[in-house]
């Protein structure tokens, strides 16, 4: 390198390091990978701590903690029912409108049930419910917890001998897991009924009994088990990511918006990755 420098270069100038564009790009990628690994490590540790607290302290201070779980179910479940009803009908209309009508035209309406089960029960139902809860409740969780943290309320809890994971995180994790499971079941039922209503309006030659038989015939026992596992996992993942971002690291008030955006992005990515794992499980079964 030094041989290419002009003769009048001083020693101090020669020591100055100017990375090339490719090197800077590689450094940037390296930095992203290190941050990603740090986040995965932090999230993993936080999830394990939360699991430990949930298993060991579920019945401790139950008169304070259990009402908090109920209020989280009310917030992330019951209050979202109108929105889920609307989305369920919309989903049913879209899928039936696009697929069942088409299948009938080619005389393949016997596959309507299979399509509905594959698309709504296995894929869209859980994902739509999870994303709705993330948008309506997950973001609120990050904002309230990071504000609590920034205002020092978490330290105030610790000063009173109250475990913040037990008081703030555990009710949210359980509340979101139960809510997403319940909302998904409700959304699937609404979508299946709504879808058939649309087909009925469109004069698709599909009798209710046939449609119901197709659905029943397409469902396997694994669908119920995996649906429950998937929706609970979505709830746990969204709650852990949002609580971790809001609570686990010291934040200032001005960081709250950035932390919220980061938590939403991470939650979406985590849900998609989890969904991919379940697709593999479905394929293996």
């Amino acid at each position: 390198m030094t041989s290419t420098l002009p003769a009048n270069e001083t020693a101090s100038t020669r020591r100055t390091y100017h990375p090339s564009l490719a090197q800077r790009y590689l450094s940037w990628i390296g930095l992203i990978i290190v941050r990603l690994l740090q986040t995965i490590h932090g999230l993993g540790a936080f999830a394990l701590i939360t699991m430990g607290v949930t298993l060991t302290k579920f019945y401790e201070s139950s008169k304070v903690i259990h009402p908090l779980i109920s209020s989280q179910i009310h917030r992330a479940g019951l209050r979202l029912l109108p929105m889920v009803t609307f989305l369920g009908f919309a989903l049913g209309f879209v899928i039936i409108g696009q697929t069942v009508a088409l299948l009938s035209r080619v005389g393949a309406q016997n596959y309507a049930g299979i399509v509905m089960v594959t698309v709504v029960v296995r894929e869209l139902g859980p994902m739509v419910a999870a994303l709705l809860v993330l948008a309506r409740v997950g973001t609120a969780i990050v904002i309230e917890l990071s504000t609590n943290r920034a205002l020092g309320e978490v330290e105030a809890l610790e000063a009173l001998g109250i475990d913040p994971i037990h008081y703030l995180v555990m009710p949210r994790v359980l509340g979101l897991a139960i809510s997403i499971f319940s909302l998904t079941v409700y959304l699937i039922i609404v979508a299946l009924v709504g879808g058939y209503l649309f087909a009925f309006i469109q004069d698709v030659p599909l009798r209710p009994g046939d449609y119901f038989n197709q659905l029943v015939g397409s469902l396997r026992w694994e669908d119920f088990l995996l649906l429950a596992l998937k929706t609970f996992s979505f709830g746990v993942v969204i709650a852990v990511v949002t609580c971790y971002q809001g609570l686990a690291r010291p934040v200032r008030l001005e960081d709250v918006s950035a932390v919220t955006t980061g938590a939403v992005v991470q939650s979406v990515i985590a849900c998609i990755l989890l969904d991919a794992v379940f697709i593999v499980v479905y394929l293996l079964l």
């Binding site: 401790e60 201070s61 139950s62 008169k63 304070v64 205002l151 020092g152 309320e153 330290e155 105030a156 610790e158 000063a159 009173l160 001998g161 109250i162 475990d163 008081y167 690291r249 010291p250 200032r252």
Partner: protein, 263 residues
């Protein structure tokens, strides 16, 4: 240390280095703190704003880990206590935070005070009402019980935080800058209450051991029993009120800009 002396000594810091929070990059705030808090003490710790008083109080109360040194809480080294043991010991320590006391804004005053009681005794709020009203009476804010902190003047927030700290019937009470931003009436109330708390049994038939952090020493000179200053990261113990003269007075004048000779 053994016998009655060990019992009398509630908290001890030996060669402790106090560091700031993670947001402050754990920088050193106070060095070489050798401090013994004994039953019945009434400490007033002063220092310029930003000198590390809050970090020192948090560390002494077991809320922050010391950077270096030995820290004993009720005779037990804090580093050797597990989480549960530490919480059990820390519950004997009340803490009132600076600037509003860090109340939970989504809860009413009585829920703020009842939360630690209900959490530790596993009872609904209705069963904690008697204790809540006892402390509300003690700090004279009974009429505010059902209001949320956001509906109450900030002047009274430290008093609500005091009630919340007293709800767990602590043996030692740390209060960080209680007179910060208070009006003259509120200042008079705090001084009167703390004097009473240090001289008459208020809770469970015992007097409170008090540790106060203050920007200005003047209001406390007549009632504090032990005084200390944080000056340029150093812990300087002045002793009792008689010690507030000579070199200590020079030190106080220098760090605060207040002429304590005339004050």
């Amino acid at each position: 240390m053994s016998g009655p002396e060990a019992v009398q000594e509630l908290i001890r810091l030996q060669d402790v280095t106090v560091t700031g929070s993670e947001l402050q990059h754990n920088m050193v705030r106070v060095q070489q703190v050798n401090w013994s808090i004994r039953r019945g003490d009434y400490w007033v710790v002063t220092g310029a704003p930003g000198s590390g008083k809050s970090d020192l109080l948090s560390t002494a109360a077991g809320l922050q880990k010391p950077g270096k040194g030995t820290h004993l809480i009720f005779g037990k080294p804090i580093q050797q206590l597990n989480e549960e043991e530490l919480i059990r010991e820390r519950m004997k320590i009340g803490y009132v935070f600076q600037g509003g006391g860090r109340l939970f804004n989504q809860l009413s005053v009585q829920e703020n005070i009842g939360l630690p009681i209900c959490y530790h005794q596993d009872c609904p709020l209705s069963e904690a009402q008697e204790k809540i009203h006892t402390v509300l009476n003690l700090v004279e804010i009974t009429s505010l019980a059902r209001r949320r902190p956001s509906e109450i003047t900030r002047n009274l927030h430290p008093r609500i935080s005091l009630a919340r700290a007293l709800a767990l019937q602590p043996e030692v009470l740390f209060i960080d800058n209680p007179l910060l931003g208070t009006d003259p009436n509120e200042t008079a109330w705090w001084l009167k209450f703390l004097e009473k708390a240090s001289t008459t049994p208020l809770i469970e038939g015992r007097k409170l051991t008090l540790v106060i952090a203050a920007d200005d020493l003047r209001p406390w000179r007549s009632q504090g029993k032990q005084f200390a200053v944080i000056h340029e990261e150093n812990w300087v113990e002045i002793g009792d009120a008689r010690g507030l003269g000579g070199k200590s007075l020079e030190l106080l004048n220098r760090f605060s800009g207040v002429n304590y000779n005339q004050a």
